[in-house]
Amino acid sequence: MTQRNRFLALAAAALAVPAILSGCAASSGASSDSDKLSVVGFSVLKTANEPVISAFQKTGAGKGVSFTTSYGASGDQSRAVAGGLHADEVHLSLQPDVQSLVDAGLVDKSWDQNATHGILTDSVVVFLVRKGNPLHIESWDDLVKPGVKVITPNPASSGSAKWNILAAWAHAEDAPGGSDAKAQEFVTKLLHNTVALPGSGSDALASFLAGNGDVLLAYENDSIEAKAAGDDVDYIVPKDTLLIENPAAVTTDASPKAQDFLDFQLSKQGQTLYAKAGFRPVISGVKTDVPGANDPRNPFPKVPHLYTIDKDFGGWDKANPEFFDDTTGIITKIIAGLNIGS
């Protein structure tokens, strides 16, 4: 045995003990412990949740509660929980990702029967543009002008990208003289102007920040965070756009503290902290300065014409298969029939 192999064997043996121990520890943590909460959320929540969790731990209900967290793309997280990842609470990008957990028996059917219909944080679809908005992009119609380069995540591989496309659809359908056919034409033109379809919202943002495209279809909270982080961008809230609603649910075998945590997140204190991270509050009476917003004092301007998935699309249960089914979805068919980027 060479010196190196000997060294490796020794190193492996030396680390065997902690590795095995950590293996045992992780598996024993699977049972719900009233002092441990496991929160599974979508990616941007990492920074948003940190202050919320520490604030909760300072309250009476949250004293002594320790948290395990996991953040990633909403669809990935949903599938992980369905595949056995232990979670006491899930906070995901869109309702279908929670619905699949209901179907798997991990979340109770009544999860959305609270004051906010299961929604924990809100945002809206906005246009992220280069600093100073050189192309003067103000409305959806500006996006389909010739020569405008659009980036949007791919709705097929990113659940949260579906908000963007549906917002565009709603705009065209709701316009005077609009119709399903007009909406289809509009989305087709939009996709013709698309120069990249990255797999997730974060990737799309990274691609835009690297210099691709003129405008990114983004979420207001991401845009606010990007500006707060000092990136060279501006964001435009169009006069008509879609309300993004992020649901949260407590799982069926969750510790009772999970409901306390959810209540805290929905409280004025929790919602204020989420507002500081760029999310629109889901309860009324939350007022706070938000660094990075276009106007930090008035961070969430009222959108004159706000579409919602329930009002304008009949809810996700109807819209998801109608638009995004693998083979028969309207958007799927548009993408399949295009030669994007040519």
Binding site: L8, L15, A16, A19, A26, G83, H86, A229
Partner: protein, 270 residues
């Protein structure tokens, strides 16, 4: 030894250096620049985050396990493929390269289908015996072994063939037992091939991202590995820290390679 005429030698050297520089060298320099863009601030911020330090420990642990397992498997398999005959050998040889061709998305799905605790093929029965594979270390080690499986084998096999088994046969005819032949003739002869394979496997294991994203559950401070932390930092607008951690990962591999390179006897040049 055949040596090229001087102009040819220079031409080859230039082409090689230009190619490697444009493809890898310059990107590496860029990584270093981005990591040190704020001086040592990104490093300080990254390392004051316990999640980052934990993730590096997890990554190194998982990688060392994967390296150990793959080295044993690789050397053993290499010997079996070259020095013995058995039915199905050609099929096995082709199958060994196959894991590298599997997309990380598919690896994650495959391991999940078999070992997940809720409805996997083996998962529920394993978990009833206390062995948790998915979202835990064993699954992560398996995913890492999966992506690097052929590396040691493919380094060892060509060298074993090239050196032939004359020395081994001579040793055997002089009365040496199988284990002695292995220890004193074969292994020393393939020493550097094994070392190359080990170094490649280590580097590959440290950088594995896609399959571990699915199999680890990305639990902050527990099963989250360094590459996953890099992505998370980047997605949460902490680019500097992301680059700092990436730099550390690459540095570890580079240091291992450097150590090996220094220990290795110089190759003969014409």
């Amino acid at each position: 030894m055949v040596s090229l005429p001087l102009p040819a030698r220079w031409a080859v050297r230039l082409v090689v250096l230009a190619y490697v520089f444009l493809l890898v060298g310059w990107p590496m320099i860029t990584l270093v620049q981005n990591a040190f863009a704020d001086g040592l601030e990104s490093f300080r911020a990254a390392f004051s985050d316990p999640d980052v330090t934990h993730s590096l420990i997890v990554t190194i642990e998982i990688s060392l396990w994967a390296v150990a397992i793959n080295t044993v498997f690789g050397v053993g398999m290499g010997l079996l493929l070259v020095r013995y005959e058995f039915p199905g050998k050609r099929a096995l040889s082709a199958l060994i390269d196959l894991p590298m061709s599997v997309s990380p998305v598919v690896i994650g799905l495959a391991l999940l289908l078999v070992y997940n605790g809720r409805n996997g093929w083996f998962g529920p029965s394993l978990e009833s015996h206390g062995i948790v594979v998915i979202f835990n270390s064993p699954g992560m080690i398996m995913a890492t072994c999966f992506v690097a499986l052929p590396l040691v084998v493919r380094e060892v096999v060509p060298v074993l063939e090239e050196i032939g088994d004359d020395q081994e046969q001579a040793a055997r005819s002089l009365g040496a037992g199988a284990v002695q032949v292995l220890r004193r003739v074969t292994l020393p002869a393939i020493k550097w091939a094994v070392v190359y394979g080990v170094v490649l496997t280590l580097a590959r294991s440290l950088g594995e991202f896609g399959a571990l994203k699915i199999v680890s559950g990305n639990l902050t401070g527990q099963t989250q590995t360094a590459p996953l932390v890099v992505e998370q930092k980047y997605n949460n607008f902490a680019q500097g820290e992301a680059y700092a951690v990436s730099f550390i990962l690459v540095l570890i591999s580079v240091l291992c390679i450097l150590v090996v390179s220094l220990l290795r006897p110089k190759e003969s040049a014409s």
